[in-house]
Every structure is written in structure tokens, then in C-alpha cells.
């Protein structure tokens, strides 16, 4: 009876009052120590620091390894969308980097495109590759996706080795650096009496694109509606489908966005290295990027940046270590998964000195109707007690049964 009346009211456009919130809504945190603002400020400072590196040291070696490291960060951010946010294990992620690198390489060296003009085609090619691989396999269990992406990585590498347009086993040489409407980085730039070489200009460009746009873009995507859908699919696919999220298209979108990130990073990589060949896209590199994401913390922006910098810079700092690093990475992967599955910097971690949101515990004083509710509960308890122990005995097994059934269903 009550339901019919309320639908009638809804049909008439009457306002239906929502139940009052259980907690008083905490005021938004303010000041520099609010977690979100603090992390954003730190990010901005680090970004400015990265931009000012060429003014501190102009050594080509430092510039070069930092350029690769930041491209690595971008690749890891892309994989983080797939693995960290959407929970899909991609073991052939380097294939998308290869697609991007080869597309740019072929278009610039053989068709006279400039690097800038290849980007839309790179994005198109990566979306296509993502749909071709993700389309059929994302309907299946996630472990099938893992092995199919592994196979896809091999397919791309072998295809690049066997085709003549990709230069076969020796790859593509002489890939140009970036140029905009006739002005190329290779020309250098004279500004305020300082000469910027093409390597430094490319470094600035990589910092802006890879660290600025790609990292902030991925982090902001994860906080939006789509990102929340990814995370809910990752945590429980059935429950989120019940909430009206289309599991398949959501996963496919994560996969495609990851592919595009990888492809654009691949295009940057191609012009950084100026020569690409199939051995640069072996399974080993897919695994290294996965390690960067897993060690840093799946789904955590600062974690993934730290992980990617560690994985790409460690061999530069520890020469003796470079021989052993793959073995150590393998062991680390197992150890991290067993003892600290959320990684070095977990996705929901808040630095200890930052302000925390405090939610008032429910007491009888801060909720107006709590006293009534407590009275009602006590009255009901008294009524149950009057009925005797039969009620409890009848309820006990039923609850156990439903609990076991739920566990069995989740398995």
C-alpha cells in the first residue's frame, strides 16, 4: 500500500524526501596539509624540478637517462591503468609500445611524415590493436587475457622481425626527432643567450608530455566516473554489474586507454633512440614494466612513478647489480606479492603527517533519533527473550547456511 502511494507521488512529480544521513558530513579539509592538496603541490614542485634539471647539469648522459626514465614512467602509467585500475593482467604491454614506435618510425622514415603528424595515426593504430586483442578476450576470465596478451606481444615482435616494411631483424634507423610545422628540435633554440640543444629540447618535451600530461591525465581519469567504474570492476565484477556498470565495455575502455598511453610513449621512445629493432620489444621488457607497477603499488600514482624510476635507473646506479637484477626482480615480485601485495606506496596510503578526515562515531548524543532506535531495539530484544530460545535456535542455522552459500558462490 505504501509503495503504491509513493510511486503515485513520484509520478505526480512530488518531492520524495531522502533519509537523513547517519553521520554529520565532515567539513572538507583545508590548508597545505590536506592530503590531496599536499600531493598535488609536491607533484608540481617535482615537475618544476624535472624541468630545471638541464639548468643544473647539462651533461648529455644525465639528460639521456632521465629522458628514458621519464618515458618509462609514462609506459608504466599506461600499464597502471590496465593492471592497477582495471585489474587486468597484461603481459604483453610492450607490444603497444612497439606498435607506437614502429608506426611513427615507418611513417617518418618512409612516408615523410613529421613526428607531430604521426601521433593521430599512432593513437588510431593502438586503439585498433587494443580492440583486436581486448575485444574477444575481455569477455573471458582474466587469466586468459594474461596469456593472450603474452602471445600478442610475441606476435608483434615476430611480425616486426619478418616484415620488410619494419626493416626486419635490424629494425628502423634514422628516426627524426620532433618537429612542429617546419621547426625541428634538431635546429636547436637560442633563447636569452642560452643555447638549447636538440637533446635538451626533447627532454623538456618528454617531461611535459610524459610526466605532465600522461601522469596527471591517468591519475585524474582514475578519480572520475570511468576510473571509479574500473576500480569497482576490479574489486567485484558481479556486484558492479548489478550496479549498472557494463563490465565488458568498461574493461575494454581501460585496455584501449592503456594501449594509447603505451603507443604514444613508444612514439617518444622511437624518436629518443632514433633506431628501433625487434629485440627492444621482448617479453622481458613487458615484465620489467609490470614489475615497476607492482613494486611501486598497483593503482597508486606516486607508487608507480617511484617504481618506474627505480626499475629504469637502478642499473645505471648499480653497475654490478645489473647482471643480477632480473633474478632479483623475479624474487622481489614473489616476495612483494606475499608480504606486501599493495606495493611500496599503496594506492590508498596517506602520509602520516597529513591531516586525516575524522568521522564522528555514532553516539546517542549526535543523532536525534538514536535514542528512539535504541529503545525500539531493546523492546524487540525483550520480546525475543520472552519467546524463549526457540527463536535463536531457529535463526542460527539459517544464518550459517547463507554464510556458507555466499562463500561458495564467491569461490
Amino acid at each position: 500500500m505504501a509503495t503504491t502511494r509513493s510511486t503515485d507521488a513520484a509520478a505526480r512529480g512530488a518531492y520524495i524526501e531522502a533519509p537523513a544521513p547517519l553521520h554529520a558530513r565532515p567539513a572538507p579539509l583545508s590548508g597545505l596539509l590536506a592530503p590531496q592538496r599536499f600531493m598535488n603541490t609536491t607533484g608540481l614542485l617535482l615537475f618544476i624540478l624535472a624541468l630545471s634539471v638541464p639548468f643544473i647539469t647539462a651533461s648529455p648522459y644525465v639528460i639521456s637517462i632521465l629522458t628514458s626514465a621519464f618515458i618509462y614512467v609514462m609506459i608504466a602509467m599506461g600499464l597502471n591503468v590496465v593492471v592497477g585500475y582495471a585489474g587486468l593482467l597484461d603481459l604483453g604491454y610492450i607490444a603497444f609500445v612497439a606498435v607506437g614506435a614502429y608506426t611513427s618510425g615507418i611513417l617518418t622514415t618512409q612516408f615523410g611524415f613529421s613526428m607531430f603528424e604521426t601521433i593521430p595515426i599512432v593513437i588510431l593504430a593502438c586503439v585498433l590493436a587494443g580492440v583486436v586483442i581486448g575485444g574477444p578476450t575481455l569477455r573471458l576470465r582474466s587469466d586468459y587475457l594474461a596469456i593472450v596478451t603474452l602471445g600478442f606481444g610475441e606476435i608483434i615482435r615476430i611480425t616486426a622481425t619478418n616484415l620488410s616494411i619494419t626493416g626486419g631483424a635490424s629494425g628502423i634507423h634514422g628516426i627524426p626527432t620532433w618537429s612542429f610545422f617546419g621547426w625541428s628540435f634538431a635546429d636547436g633554440l637560442e633563447l636569452f643567450g642560452i643555447t638549447f640543444t636538440s637533446k635538451v629540447l626533447f627532454y623538456f618535451f618528454v617531461v611535459i608530455v610524459a610526466l605532465g600530461l600522461a601522469t596527471v591525465g591517468a591519475a585524474r581519469l582514475s578519480r572520475g566516473k570511468l576510473g571509479r567504474a574500473w576500480k569497482s570492476i576490479r574489486d567485484d565484477e558481479d556486484a558492479s554489474e548489478a550496479m549498472g556498470i557494463n563490465g565488458y565495455t568498461t574493461k575494454l575502455s581501460a585496455y584501449i586507454i592503456g594501449a594509447v598511453w603505451g603507443g604514444v610513449a613508444g612514439s617518444l621512445l622511437a624518436s629518443h633512440l632514433s633506431a628501433i629493432s625487434p629485440p627492444s620489444f621482448e617479453f622481458l621488457y613487458s615484465a620489467l614494466i609490470l614489475m615497476a607497477v607492482v613494486l611501486g603499488g598497483m593503482g597508486s600514482t606516486p607508487g608507480v612513478i617511484i617504481g618506474a624510476l627505480f626499475v629504469s635507473l637502478a642499473p645505471e646506479f648499480l653497475r654490478e647489480f645489473s647482471e643480477w637484477r632480473y633474478l632479483i626482480f623475479g624474487v622481489l615480485l614473489v616476495v612483494v606479492m606475499i608480504f606486501r601485495p599493495a606495493g611500496l606506496w599503496p594506492a590508498n596510503a596517506v602520509l602520516p603527517f597529513l591531516k586525516k578526515r575524522r568521522i564522528e562515531p555514532l553516539t546517542t548524543t549526535n543523532i536525534p533519533w538514536a535514542a528512539e532506535a535504541k529503545q525500539a531495539a531493546e523492546a524487540k530484544q525483550a520480546a525475543d527473550a520472552a519467546q524463549g530460545r526457540d527463536g535463536d535456535a531457529a535463526r542460527g542455522p539459517a544464518e550459517n547456511g547463507s554464510g556458507a552459500g555466499r562463500d561458495g558462490g564467491a569461490r
Partner: protein, 305 residues
Amino acid sequence: MIEFITGDLFQLIWNGLFVGSFYALVALGYSMVYGIIKLLNFAHGDIYMLGSFIAFVLLGSVIGFLGTASLPILLLVLLITMILTGGIGVLIERVAYRPLRNSPRLAVLITAVGVSFTLEYGVRQIFGPAPEVFPFRLSGESVEVLGGRVSVPQIVLMVIAALLMWVLQLYVMRSKEGRAMRAIALDPRATLLMGVNVNRVISRTFFIGSALAGAAGVMAGAYYGSIDFLMGFTIGLKAFTAAVIGGIGNLYGAMLGGLVLGLLESFGTFVLGGEWRDVFTFACLILFLSIRPTGILGARIAERM
């Protein structure tokens, strides 16, 4: 056309069946482990690699001791290697997979990748990145059968493979322990309630699967003559493909899938050329997963996530 049927066709089928029997041996381990705990053991291909390296060390020391080696010695080495790789499989399960039995699937998959990496680069640290020459190579004259060439080592290896699979089939289908395995595949919790030591049965499954992969590794070393630390990667992928084609989790499916994949590959190589062989195989995998993910013999189960 007539010449194709009398000559090439038989040769292609024979080659396919021969390679397929290797795939079947490795695929069995994949399929059994998957059937029981729904884990994709990425390290399985590396157990195969480990098998050939253990046999490499054992045979090398035997030859250093006796000066020569023969088929009976190879069989003995095969047996010891199977026990050792089986033990390593059990150890891996105990150390890396068991603590994560109730974790999200992603965590277990990543651990499996880590184990695979550890094995590969551990072996690389010991033996170096260059391929090693297997100390003993099966050799023998080849016989003309229906216009195709069939060599004696091929027959020997296929007989060994068939024998191993027959014993495994007897064990799983007829013995008490085999029944426990099949019960766990159906419902681990109910099996536990029936008084079966589930952990022990899982360990045993890992032992058997790893022993078979180790055996395949020894046989591959003895037949092809060259081994390296990454040899398990491709065959692991292909064995998985075989398991999927046959129906993963199904014992006969893995055997059938191995042979079917061997045949597909043999014909695919004939049509497209050798350099496209792996591309063809993985394309088959993607095709199979999109058209019939349960495989040829797999039951239709509505499985998600």
C-alpha cells in the same frame, strides 16, 4: 596432388604428431594444475627448461665418469630428472603459491610470473646466457614410411611420451589418489569435508605435472641437442595453447590439444613458412578463445571473472 598426398602429407602429419607429443606432455601439467586450483602456472614452461638443464648436468657427469652414454643411461637420467623437477614443482607450490591460495587472482598470476622470472634468470646466472650443447644426442637412421622419413629417435621419444601419458591416465582415473584429484577439481571444500588432505593432493599434482614437464625437457634436449635458459618460454605458451584447444582442466583434452596443435603448426608452417610458425600458433589461440573458449573436450561452464 598425388605426390603431395603420398609424400608431404604423411611427413607433415608425422612431424605434427611428434612435436605435438611434446606439447601434450607439457600441457598435461598446465591442465592438471589449472583443473585443481584454477591457477595458470606460468613457471611451468620453465620447469621444462629446468628439466633439460638438470639432465645436462647429470648426463655430463655420467659421461665424464663412464666416458660414454647410451639409451638406458638416458632413461635413468630421465627418471632422476623427473623426480628432481617434480620436487622443485612441489617446492614452488609450497613457497610461492600456497601462501596466496585465498588472494585475488591477479596477485597469484603476478607471483607466477615472478617465479618464472626467478627460474629463468637463476639458470642464466649459473649457466650463462649462451646456449649449451646437450652432451648426449639420440641418433639413428631414418626409415621410409609411405614416402615420409621417420627416424628411430623420434619413435623412441614418442613411445616414451605415450607411455608416460598412459601411466598418468591410469593413475588419475583408476587410483584412489587420482579420484581425490578429480574430486578437488569439482569442489575443494566438499573434498576437504570428505576427509581428503587437499594440500597434499595439490602438492602431488604439482609433482606429477612438473615431472612430466621435466621429462619433456630431457627429451627435447636429447633430440634437438641445444638448450638455453629461455627455451621454456615459447613452449610454455604453446602448451597453454594446446591445453586451451583441448579444453583446459581436462586430461584427455590436454593430450588431444597437444596433438592437434602439433598438426596445426605443421600444416601452418607448410603453408606460411617457418618464420610465421609462432604467429600462426598464437593466432590459433586467440581464435580458439574467441570461438570456443572451453576447447574441444571442455564442458560448457558459465565461468566469469
